[in-house]
């Protein structure tokens, strides 16, 4: 599989079809992976592919304006590219998607070092990227059996709580937030040139690491991703404080699905949720 990735990368660079290939290479610990930016044929052998290739690399597309980019892309990563395309943040012709039929990634936070498929992979149905230019499949049937699991199990559990219980739950979780903004920075869809959290004229919410400031930040972040988040789960993985950010994202995703029958990141031709309307909308604000 890695050979196929390397061959493709080599071809892309050699034929000057792309200026750079974004993929994965071994991290300094010799176990994990780190994003790799390959612009010389000689560096292609650094590329790797394994369960530690956890990052959603589409986050780096904005770092190379005006360049043609080849990018190693898992199913979930391709979905975020779909949204970027829908939102005119990318030109399709500028990227060459080396799609990977992913069999799941490692949960590095789990103690004991056993390789377990990440929680976020369990609800991932199409492991095949919705868009790609070349698809590289797992050779052997390494695919982990995907449990027919309710993707909203944890959300449903939270929904049964009373308002007070919910508040208490999130207050506890957000109390550990240190406002490092890793959740925002790792998110391919958090691309605002000036985030609402940094605006000072006016300042929209408190910078203090407090109940109010932390609630405002975390809820705002999630709301800005309503109808856009494709649940790659990178925010939760990046959070050093272990805040279950996916639960908020999933709740909004579920609401969007139920209210508007809309699912983000599946179709580049689809209009973004918030730039479309339906004349038959039950609310009268549209008329």
């Amino acid at each position: 599989m890695i050979d196929q990735i390397k061959t493709k990368a080599k071809e892309l660079l050699k034929t000057k079809k792309v200026d750079i290939v974004i993929g994965y290479k071994k991290a300094s610990d010799r176990i994990g992976a780190i994003p790799a930016f390959i612009d010389k044929e000689g560096d292609i052998d650094k590329l790797i592919w394994d369960g530690y290739c956890v990052y959603n690399l589409s986050n780096y597309l904005k770092d190379f304006p005006g360049k043609k980019i080849g990018i190693v892309t898992k199913g979930c990563d391709a979905k975020s590219m779909t949204v970027l395309l829908q939102e005119n943040q990318l030109k399709r012709e500028d990227i060459f998607i080396i799609g990977i039929e992913c069999s799941g990634i490692v949960d590095e936070k789990r103690k004991g070092g056993d390789i377990a498929y990440d929680e976020r992979c369990k609800g991932c149905k199409p492991a095949t990227p919705p868009i790609y230019d070349v698809l590289i499949k797992e050779e052997e049937k390494k695919q982990a059996p995907r449990l027919e699991q309710d993707p909203y199990e944890s959300v449903r559990k939270l929904e049964t709580k009373s308002i007070e219980e919910k508040f208490k739950f999130w207050q506890d979780e957000f109390s550990r937030c240190i406002r490092c903004y890793a959740c925002r920075q790792i998110c391919p869809l958090c691309y605002c040139p000036r985030c609402v959290a940094e605006q000072t004229q006016p300042a929209w919410f408190s910078k203090a690491v407090s109940v109010e400031g932390n609630f405002s930040w975390n809820v705002n972040r999630a709301m800005h991703l309503a109808g856009r988040c494709i649940d790659c789960g990178e925010c939760e993985r990046a959070c050093p404080a272990g805040i279950p950010l996916r639960d908020i994202n999933k709740k909004i995703e579920k609401d969007v699905k139920e209210l508007f029958s809309y699912e983000a990141g599946v179709d580049t031709e689809q209009k973004p949720l918030f730039s479309s309307f339906d004349k038959n909308d039950p609310e009268d604000f549209i008329k």
Partner: protein, 323 residues
């Protein structure tokens, strides 16, 4: 001065101290990890070997704290009152305590920062020696060790079912000197031997001057996502912002990885890309601070490596810098 104490001795002593002291120590939160928190019952303490995610720094230089407000007359300004309650920190690791010793150099010199100094003065730091450094730890390359006592008042070592406590300062001897029993010569720990537990060893050049202009910084900073994990979780990163909110002024963490850190009102930014920002972080730690205070502004705790969302390894980057 070393003494042998049992776990029960320690719990009893802390329970006694809880009457007059605020006690801060590591707690294990299920599925989340270890966090330093204010302890209400000595039994809540986690004294295992897993590292806390945030360093003990946050109890000395708070993530955000109010420093000014309007006085009652609504005209003049006054300082926010600071707690003078005595405090004991237990379970901080040698690297984190050394971080405090480094912060002392900055905050307790020239223009003295009494907010920080007050927090230092009212606190006794009792450390916990590291029996299981992990693969991100590189304290021995930063003149530290799993049993280093710099920045501490006392240090405890796991020993059999109990602990050996080393009392470093008079403050510690006064408060903790009565617990446990004297140690026999052959029970004393070989602290030097503990250094070998740390496997990650790097070389740090005396100065990085020559590589400032190198493309190396471009290359190594590319994976960086410009978040604040490394700086906020660093025991020595001290950069802050001053922010006004509702007639109060706050000091809160800020970091060189954020583009806004140096963005001027005119729109000019002297560190416009990740390259300049990451280089600033490396140079501040391994060059500038050394020029100003004689030591690296790094204690080798490995937090920035362990928690970096994209596995950037500052130790490896410094080690391989093309000097």
């Amino acid at each position: 001065m070393q003494r042998l104490i049992t776990k029960q001795d320690l719990v009893n002593k802390l329970t006694e101290l809880l009457k007059d002291f605020e006690v801060v120590g590591p707690k294990e939160l299920s599925n989340k990890g270890i966090f330093y928190q204010v302890i209400e019952d000595a039994k809540e303490l986690y004294l295992g070997q897993d590292f806390a995610i945030e360093p003990i720094k946050k109890f000395f230089l708070e993530p955000s704290s109010w420093i000014l407000r309007h006085a009652k007359d609504d005209v003049s300004l006054e300082s926010f009152p600071q707690s003078d309650k005595k405090r004991i920190v237990i379970g901080a690791r040698p690297c984190e305590a050394k971080g405090l010793a480094l912060l002392d150099k900055l905050f307790d010199s020239e223009y003295k920062d009494d907010f920080y100094i007050n927090n230092r003065k009212r606190t006794i730091v009792v450390g916990l020696a590291c029996a299981k450094p992990d693969m991100s730890c590189f304290c021995t390359s930063m003149q530290g060790s799993p049993a280093e006592t710099s920045g501490m008042d006392a240090l405890i070592f796991e020993s059999g079912d109990g602990f050996i406590i080393e009392l470093v300062t008079d403050k510690a001897k006064h408060i903790l000197g009565s617990i446990g029993e004297d140690i026999k010569e052959d029970q004393k720990l070989n602290k030097d031997k503990m250094k070998a537990l740390v496997k990650k060893v790097i070389k740090t050049p005396e100065s990085l001057d020559k590589v400032f202009e190198s493309d190396y910084w471009d290359e190594v900073s590319r994976p960086c996502i410009s978040c604040g994990v490394c700086t906020f979780l660093c025991p020595t990163c001290h950069c802050f912002d001053l922010v006004d909110e509702e007639k109060k002024r706050m000091r809160c963490y800020d970091g060189c990885s954020f583009p806004d850190f140096t963005l001027e009102a005119s729109g000019v930014n002297p560190r416009p890309t990740k390259k300049e920002r990451y280089r600033q972080r490396v140079f501040h730690k391994f060059d500038y601070f050394k020029k100003n205070f004689g030591e690296n502004l790094c204690v080798g705790c490995g937090r920035c490596i362990r928690h970096c969302p994209v596995k950037i390894d500052i130790a490896d980057i410094v080690d391989k810098a093309p000097i």
